[in-house]
Each structure stands twice: as C-alpha cells, then as structure tokens.
C-alpha cells in the first residue's frame, strides 16, 4: 500500500486520481479490509448466536424446538405461557423492580450525601472516612453472606423486600464514582452558594447534583444494573417463590424445565428484556460512565 491510510490528506498524485473518480468516492476496498470484515462477521455469528437463539426459540412452537429449527416459519407464545405457569414471573417482576428501585435509590442517596461530605466541607477525619469507605471495594460480597444471613434473619427480615436490599443500601463504588465527579466541579460555585446562605443539603440537591448530572446518570445505571442482576444474596434470603427476584426465578425454571429449552429461552427473554433495551438504547450512557471510571 502506497501512502497514508488516512484519506483526509491526499498526496498530489492521489488528488488527481480522486478527481477522476465519482464525487463521493470511498477509499478503495483492500484485501486486508476484506479479511477484517469476514473476521468481524464470523465473530458476530459466534457472539450473537446465543442471543438469537434466546429471542427466537422462545417464540417457536414445541415441535419446531424439538427439531432444532433456527429459521422460523410460525411463532407462538406457548413457551411463555408454560414458563409463567411454572414460575410466578409476574410477582417476581414486581419484586425485582421494587428491589432495583429501592436499592438504587438508597445507594444514590447515601452515596451522594457521603461524596458531598468528602469533597466540599473541610473537616478532620475526612481522609480516614474516605479510606474506610473505599476499602470496602476490595471485599468480595460473597465472603460476607454467612454473618449477613444470620443478621438479616435475626432482624426478622427473611423473605422480604427490605431483607433483599438492606445490606446494599450503601456501597463503596457509587461513593467513589460520585466523589470523582464532584471533584471536577468548580469549588467557587459551592462557596458562593454557601455564602448566599445555602445549607449543606440544599447545596447538594440544588447546586452540586444538577451540575454532575451525566455522572449521576451513569452511577444510577450501574447501580440499577447490579441490583437487577443480583443473584446469590436474593437466593439465600428468600424462600417463597412469589417473593423472589426474576434472577432466582429463571434459575429455578432451568431446573423445572430442563428438557424443554423453548420454555427456558422464553423465561430468559422475560428476564433479559429490560437490560437488553438498556444496552441497545442507553449504550452511550454506559460508555460515558466507563470512560470516566476506568483508570486513566
């Protein structure tokens, strides 16, 4: 290949060649690009296959599932009916939505209060408080389940919404994210608000949070995803099928219907839909969160 790969700076010879080509000329298709394209198609097939199968097979009639059909001729909701007959996904959806709302709301509230106190007011012990909070990032949640199980059971909160969410109403990660976000805000604005007689809470909710809206959105999305996707703790702390989350429900559907994949895929689709929409529609918000959180 001759000169630069960037088509923006053509050399003299290329410029004359470009003049002869039709106006909106594409860069010439090269062998290497073809290889690159075929590689991407192959990878797309491999990665997309489970998604395709999930969404399609759930809608196939049982005899088509039994024949391993991959191209649909007709679609039905039979598998969804069967899945709903096995597992109370309706009630579990309500539980999951409430758990996600409560846990995300709680984390957002506690972490924005903490992050505010760690960034704006100056006080002795601020560094220690931050260290104590951030150190929790290194503790794997799975290693704490036994004492937390004793504790939450002792409080009489087994099998309840509060029992599922209580241990997660505060977390180190959103504090860390919001603190990073608040540190980039101009301190003068806060000082001016204080001099105007704004209290700490009004400063936080009327001045600081609105200024940090993109990062607050990102933190909300990541908290909500973690809450919706939680599995181990909700499995331990709930017993009755209609008080469990959809994530626990789907794993029990797999056990109950291990010989009818169509039903399993239908249940998976039900659990998957909200997060699938989020990834398709809200991808740029997720990417924005990552761009700011991953280490420089």
């Amino acid at each position: 290949m001759t000169v630069t790969t960037t088509p923006t700076r053509p050399t003299v010879t290329e410029a004359t060649a470009a003049a002869r080509r039709p106006r909106r000329s594409r860069p010439p298709l090269r062998a290497r690009d073809m290889v690159r394209w075929f590689w991407l198609v192959a990878l797309t097939v491999v990665i997309g296959f489970p998604v395709y199968v999930t969404l399609l097979t759930g809608l196939l009639p049982p005899q088509d599932v039994a024949h391993g059909t991959l191209l649909p001729t007709r679609l039905t909701l039979d598998n969804f009916r069967e899945a709903l007959r096995n597992v109370p996904f309706g009630q579990q959806y309500v539980v999951s939505v409430l758990v996600t709302a409560l846990q995300t709301g709680g984390q957002l509230l506690t972490s924005s209060l903490a992050a505010y106190a760690l960034v704006f007011p100056r006080w002795r012990g601020r560094a220690v408080a931050f260290a104590v909070i951030v150190a929790t990032l290194a503790i794997p949640g799975e290693s704490l389940v036994i004492p937390n199980y004793e504790l939450v059971t002792g409080l009489g909160l087994r099998d309840s919404l509060l029992g599922i969410t209580l241990p997660f109403l505060a977390a180190g990660y959103p504090v860390f994210l919001l603190r990073q976000a608040f540190l980039t805000l101009p301190r003068e604005v806060w000082e001016a608000a204080r001099l105007d007689g704004c209290g700490d809470l009004r400063c936080l909710f009327l001045v600081v949070l609105p200024m940090a809206r993109p990062q607050v959105t990102a933190a909300t999305l990541w908290s909500a995803l973690a809450a919706w996707n939680g599995y181990f703790w909700p499995l331990l702390i709930t017993d009755s099928p209609d008080r469990r989350t959809v994530q626990v429900g789907i794993s029990q559907l797999v056990n109950a219907e291990s010989t009818s994949p169509g039903v399993i895929y239908a249940g998976t689709t039900l659990v998957l839909l909200p997060t699938l929409l989020l990834v398709i529609v809200g991808q740029r918000f997720l990417l924005r969160g990552l761009a700011r959180t991953s280490p420089r």
Partner: protein
C-alpha cells in the same frame, strides 16, 4: 477545624444577615454510609473470621475454638484442594477468553468499516445478560439430546459431545458461558478505551509509517494497557466468585468436577443438612484473601506505572 474555616472565610467581610452560626451538618452526611457499611460489611467481616475458627455442634451452632483446624482441613483435604484448583482454572480460562476475544473484536472496529455500528451493538449484547440469564441460555444450548447446539451439530452430521455430563466438557461449558457473559463488559471497557485514544498520537504514528499489526503492537496496546489491566483485575476478582453459572449449569457436578469455592461455601452453609458455618467461613476467608491478593497486585503494578511514567 479553625484553620480551614478561616481559610474559607478569611478575606470575606462578615455577612450582615449571618445570624447565629448554623450547626455544621457536613461531616454528618457520611454517617448513613459509614453506619451501613459498618453493620453489613465490616461487622460480617470480623464475625466471619471469628466463625472460621469455630467448630459446629449438631444443631449447626458455633462451638469452642478449633484454632486453624478448619483451614488446615481446607488446605490438606484433596477434595478441597481440587475446589481451589477448579476455581483458579475456570477464572484463568474465562478471563483469558473474554479479554482476548474482546480485544479481537474491538481493535478491527477502530477504523471505519461497513456495518461497524451493527458489529459494535452485537458485541455488547452479552452485557445485557445477568449471570443467571446467561447461564439459563447456555443451559438451553448445552442441554443433553434436546439442546440447541446438539441439534445444530446433528444437522451438520456430527454427534454432539456430552456437554455437561463429562468433567472436562462441563468445565469447558462453564468457562465458555462465563467468558461469553464477561465478553460484553470487556467490549464496553475496551471500546471506551479505544475511543479515548489521542488521535494526534495515532496520526503521528501512521505518518511515521506504522500501520496494521505494528501500530497495534507498539502504539495502541501500550496506550490501552491500563484498561486491559483494569479488565484483567476486575474479571479475575469476579471469576474467583463464580457461583451462578455453576449452580445453574452443573450444580457442581459431574462428580464435583465444577465445584468452585463459592459453590462449596453455599453447600456447607446453606445446602441442606446441618449447616457447617465454621468450615464455610474458612472458605469465605480464603476467598477474601485471594481477592485481597489480586487487589494488592493491582496496587503494586499501578504504583510502579505511576512512578515510572
């Protein structure tokens, strides 16, 4: 903190309407977080370490101290050692597959190509799956005789392997399911990293004649190495805690071949029968130690990077 107060208000004339000084609320705003993490993170941490040194009576209650017996049992018993090995194998295999796969997906998308947005979207779809829904999906793919993969293979004229019934294949299935589901996150992280590459540097390198593999190896990879490292660390930490995939796909079998640390913890503490909190807590502490080790390595490496660059 008199000095910071005066620093803040030092050369500002006192306000006329500043009545009696407000009580300072600021520091108290950390209390909800500190209280909750004290109760649900630090206390259980201490309690777990205490429990790991106790025996268990017939009702499952902790008894007298047994010293380090739970740990020595864990580290000398061949079955427990196998659990540790299984966990590490699954972690390494799935992290390697997910990270390498994501790199091989994101790098070719750096420059314009037909269908780029579609590729990008499909690659990030696994991220929409939770561990439980990804495992359910793979349970449908790997199911014996009725599974989707076996149907596809049969159409191509092959007989599918015993996916979840033989120890080796079961390990591969769990690792594949984990890698596939982690792949989505890895793609998002690396896409963000590649988008943030400084375009001046890339253009300069290209003007200097670096292109293709050479550009990737000597310019792009070093520039995105912090993100790669971040990925390796976070995925290793979540790999050490593999539970859902195993629970849904194999329940730890066949013949305990896919039993991981957290699966073993779950069995001993919650798996029916008399709970053995002592031994289960010893597993929890070992898990904690492993995660702390990975985190410590992360800190050491990051510090070195910062001081050398």
């Amino acid at each position: 903190m008199p000095h910071s107060f005066s620093a803040m208000c030092g050369n500002v004339p006192p306000l006329k309407r500043a009545g009696p000084r407000r009580p300072r609320l600021g520091p108290w705003l950390t209390v909800p977080t500190l209280l909750l993490i004290a109760v649900f993170l630090y206390w259980p941490l201490g309690r777990g370490i205490w429990l790991s040194t106790r025996g268990t009576d017939l009702l499952g209650n902790p008894t007298r101290s047994v010293g380090f017996a739970n740990y020595t049992q864990l580290l000398t018993d061949p079955a427990s050692r196998r659990v540790l090995l299984t966990t590490l194998t699954l972690t390494v295999a799935s992290v390697a597959m997910a990270t390498a796969g994501a790199l091989a997906a994101v790098l070719p998308l750096r420059r314009r190509i037909a269908g780029r947005r579609l590729f990008q979207l499909v690659f990030s779809l696994p991220f929409a799956y939770s561990a439980a829904s990804a495992s359910a999906c793979f349970a449908g793919l790997f199911a014996p005789s009725v599974g989707t993969l076996n149907h596809v293979l049969a159409k191509l004229g092959y007989e599918g392997p015993p996916w979840l019934q033989s120890p080796g294949w079961a390990m591969l299935c769990v690792a594949l399911a984990t890698a596939w589901y982690e792949f989505g996150f890895a793609v998002l992280v690396l896409t963000a990293a590649v988008r943030n590459l400084p375009s001046e540097v890339l253009e300069a390198a290209e003007l200097d004649g670096a292109s293709g593999p050479r550009l990737v190896r000597s310019v792009i990879l070093p520039l995105i190495s912090p993100s790669l490292f971040f990925l390796a660390v976070t995925q290793t930490i979540s790999g050490l805690q593999i539970f859902t995939q195993v629970q849904v796909l194999t329940r730890g079998g066949p013949s305990d071949a896919t039993t991981t640390l957290v699966v073993e913890l779950y069995r001993r503490a919650f798996g029916g029968g008399v709970p053995d909190y002592g031994r289960a807590s010893a597993i929890a502490v070992v898990l904690l130690a492993l995660v702390l080790l990975v985190t410590a390595v992360q800190f050491l490496v990051l510090n070195r990077r910062v001081t050398t660059s």
